[in-house]
């Protein structure tokens, strides 16, 4: 055992490997920060080169990109309100509010620390208890998944405080948007209104960025235009830009503040690790669920949505905590649980290692080296993030008159580049119109996105369950795990209702 650890660490801490990890993290943070692009894309681009590198180096590069990308998404989410990656959508709710209140540095640091803590937790779970957790993940069939999705939807209903009805309504709109395209069971097109471009459905990235970011950017644009008109009319002295009034020294995250976010971070780490291990559930669901639960258990739930650091910490930790556990099904059974895991699986295959149960036995050293690299990449992420953050918080404070057009254009081109899809750009703009309308009518936006994310999964799970049960609705409560979820949902909603009553 000791020999193995020494050999593996010799592999993992080779200077070249370290260099590749750092290069990867840098690349990942930068790509993640651009709306629409994510680490996944860079990994796909680099796949052929993996063959020409030593496995340890290749792994270092890919792991670095992946982890950097997970955190990088939160930079754009906080700085511009544009989630750089789907996983960062929940982060943008509080992160962007915190930035508007002149606290970009606090927000970014909270995101960085919670991201690293969540990620590390998840990696440790991968290393030490992958096999038992994988067994749990396998017992999730369609019936259990449907219960999980129903549970998440109940949670969002409870999440939109004070306007539960409107929250439910937008969640329904989100589900409807997700239904556009091919029916997963019969394969026929539906709700496409005769447009062939819609037959594959709306992709996540344009809907997400359109709803959250484009609508926000348009509202900001409106404010700017109003200010410009006022200025032309009154000819008042030029308004000081935000940057001039911004003092980064007053915007440091204090120890007390950091400690106050820890509970939310742990909740995120636990939820993210669990959701990450379920094949197909995904980062965004993990982030939103962590956010909802952290709000339930927070001492100051009323601050959520208004720039709460706890909100940032829970979302970001939940998002990043999928990083390690998403490999659990891949290592245990060779099942890629996410797009990232599928790409890593492809990289393993190109390096001559078959993902699956034999992976660890046949390639013990390199897998242990990968474990070291996973942990080490978190350190690199922390350090590089720390070094870069002061610059990023300054960027966030550039005069909006110049920043907003640039962000808008980057969002459009980035969305196109993510899938090379023209349809996606039109979807992005349509989602922007929808987002502006819903904002004007004061609908909460988060439930819509969650509805959109879990809609297809929920539908597929429901219909698969029904097919398996021969059309009998009772099949939905035929599993103890599913019953557990339904009970938990009812308990949470009751708890929440009474807690709210008590406060009033």
């Amino acid at each position: 055992m000791l020999d193995l650890v020494i050999e593996a660490s010799a592999l993992a801490f080779h200077p070249y490997v370290l260099m590749y990890v750092m290069l990867g993290v840098l690349l990942g943070i930068t790509l993640g920060a651009i709306p629409g692009l994510s680490g996944d894309m860079a990994i796909a681009l680099l796949l052929p080169f993996v063959f020409f590198l030593e496995p340890a180096m290749a792994m270092g590069l890919l792991v670095g990109i992946y982890k950097g990308g997970l955190f990088g998404g939160s930079i754009a989410a906080i700085s511009f309100g544009v989630p750089g990656t789907p996983g960062a959508a929940a982060t943008s709710i509080d992160g962007y509010q915190a930035k508007l209140k002149g606290k970009p540095s606090k927000a970014l640091h909270t995101a960085l620390y919670s991201s690293v803590i969540g990620d590390t937790t998840s990696d440790l779970v991968l290393i030490f208890i992958a096999v038992p957790l994988a067994a749990v993940a396998l017992s999730f069939g369609p019936i259990e998944f449907f219960a999980l999705y129903a549970f998440s939807l109940m949670l969002i209903a409870a999440l939109s405080q004070g306007m539960v009805a409107k929250g439910l309504a937008v969640a329904a709109i989100g589900i409807l948007l997700a239904m556009i395209g091919r029916d997963p069971i019969t394969g026929s097109a539906r709700l496409t209104f005769g447009m062939p471009g819609l037959s594959g459905g709306l992709s996540l990235i344009p809907v997400l960025i359109g709803i959250f970011a484009i609508s926000e950017v348009v509202v900001q644009g409106a404010k700017l235009w109003r200010r410009k008109v006022d200025k032309l009319m009154d000819d008042v002295a030029e308004q000081a830009s935000l940057l001039q009034g911004y003092d980064i020294r007053k915007d440091q995250l204090s120890w007390v503040e950091f400690k106050s976010t820890l509970k939310a971070t742990y909740i995120g780490a636990a939820v993210g690790t669990f959701i990450g291990a379920l094949p197909g559930a995904g980062q965004s669901l993990a982030a939103f669920m962590s956010y909802g639960l952290a709000q339930r258990f927070s001492r100051k739930p009323e601050e959520f949505g208004k720039g709460s650091l706890e909100g940032i910490a829970s979302a970001e930790s939940g998002n990043s905590a999928t990083a390690g556990s998403t490999f659990i099904p891949l290592f245990a059974f060779g099942i890629p649980g996410s797009a990232t895991a599928a790409l890593f699986g492809a990289a393993f295959i190109l390096m001559g290692m078959t993902p699956g149960p034999s992976l660890l036995n046949d390639n013990t050293e390199i897998i242990y080296a990968l474990f070291f690299t996973l942990i080490f990449a978190n350190l690199v992420n922390l350090v590089l993030g720390k070094v870069l953050l002061p610059y990023y918080s300054r960027i966030a404070m550039i005069q909006p008159g110049y920043l907003i057009p640039a962000v808008f254009i980057l969002a459009i081109v980035g969305t196109y580049a993510a899938n090379n899809s023209v349809v996606d750009v039109w979807v992005l703009l349509f989602a922007g119109v929808l987002g502006v309308t819903l904002r004007l009518l004061k609908f909460p936006l988060a439930p819509l996105v969650l509805g959109f994310i879990i809609g297809p999964g929920a539908e597929r799970a429901l219909r698969q369950s029904m097919i398996m049960g021969g059309g009998d609705w009772w099949v939905l409560v035929s599993s103890p795990i599913a019953i557990g979820f339904y009970v938990a949902a009812v308990v949470l909603i009751l708890l929440f209702t009474f807690a709210l009553r008590a406060k009033k």
């Binding site: 790409l343 295959i349 034999s358």
Partner: protein
């Protein structure tokens, strides 16, 4: 202020990436070069990144560039169920710089069943890369352990066995439809999101049988977690040599799925030939073969245009027959 900061980082990165890319393209020239010019060639793949097709496309990109005289990029366009990828290739200038790589689900089945701008004949297959052999498998501790067990149980209790497969009418579903027509057995068809989900369902005991392509279950078969019971092909699969074909078991159902590289038919004959030649040359190299073996991509018997066109015609006929038979039901 943002701009100089970002570009500094990205210049460094792009420099690194470009120099790596140069290493792989700088060498040799060939007659393909004069015909094709120096613009990059794009292999459009109408699937998500990371799957078996993606790996194969990237093996081509890494090895054929040298012989085609220019860089080869792999572009993943899964949008609109893959239709966006086909549309992009169909709309591209017919200079051979935008080519398609796909199995028959995209070019034949979807073209026949959906309303598209092109016909099946508009796709000109130029390279026949490999044949995928749809394989039926079960969990290792399931009472069904052979084709005979399956048919027997399905005949005794029709519509109780749950059969997981990816998209309806895809290459891992049509063979099942054919077999049911041949034998009269009935199974519950459970569509999944793909091979990964099918395998989760088999391993978790949620579905009884599943269909997939051999490379994706080799490791689970070797570990004794699942048993592959039969292959829908004329011959056994190289990677699963112990698994019988359905023909061996006495059922005349075989439906291999050729993986082809296509150009749109408006591309000139010379360019089609030049592309076919340089891709085949690239795949014959030792590096390409090693990559293929490691990935179980099966690129050891790559065939040119004639074979590709013939297999394309045959597959089209078969798909038409099956679709017509389904219509009648």
């Amino acid at each position: 202020m943002m701009t100089p900061k970002m570009s500094k980082i990205s210049v460094a990165i792009s420099a690194a990436m470009i120099s790596t890319a140069m290493l792989s393209t700088s060498a040799a020239a060939s007659d393909a070069e004069s015909l094709l010019g120096s613009d990059p060639i794009r292999i459009v793949m109408p699937y998500g990144a990371g799957g078996s097709t993606d790996i194969t496309a990237r093996i081509i990109a890494a090895n054929a560039a040298e012989y085609c005289g220019t860089r080869i990029d792999v572009v993943s366009m899964p949008g609109a169920g893959g239709m966006e990828g086909l549309q992009f290739v169909a709309d591209a200038e017919p200079n051979g710089h935008t080519i398609l790589m796909a199995d028959y689900s995209a070019t034949i089945t979807q073209t026949l069943t959906e309303d598209t701008d092109w016909e099946v004949e508009d796709w000109a297959p130029i390279v026949h890369l490999t044949d995928w052999k749809p394989t039926v498998y079960v969990k290792a501790d399931h009472p069904i352990q052979s084709i005979e067990d399956w048919i027997e149980l399905a005949e005794a209790e029709p519509n109780t066995l749950i059969f997981g497969h990816a998209d309806p009418l895809s290459l891992v579903h049509l063979p099942l439809v054919l077999l049911e027509m041949e034998t009269g057995i009935q199974n519950v068809h459970l569509p999944t999101t793909g091979g990964g989900e099918t395998r989760t369902m088999i391993l978790g005991g949620h579905a009884h049988l599943g269909m997939t392509l051999p490379p994706s279950i080799v490791s689970n078969v070797e570990e004794g977690e699942v048993t592959a019971i039969g292959v829908f092909a004329d011959e056994r699969s190289d990677v699963l040599p112990d698994v019988p074909t359905f023909q061996e078991a006495g059922y005349d159902v075989s439906f291999e799925a050729p993986l082809l590289v296509y150009t749109f038919s408006s591309v000139s004959d010379e360019i089609q030939q030049a592309l076919a030649d340089c891709i085949m040359q690239g795949l014959e190299t030792e590096t390409a073969q090693t990559m293929s073996n490691q990935a179980s991509a099966g690129l050891n018997n790559v065939q040119g245009r004639e074979s590709a066109q013939q297999i394309y015609r045959e597959t089209t006929e078969r798909v038409q027959e099956v679709l017509a038979a389904i219509e009648q039901d």
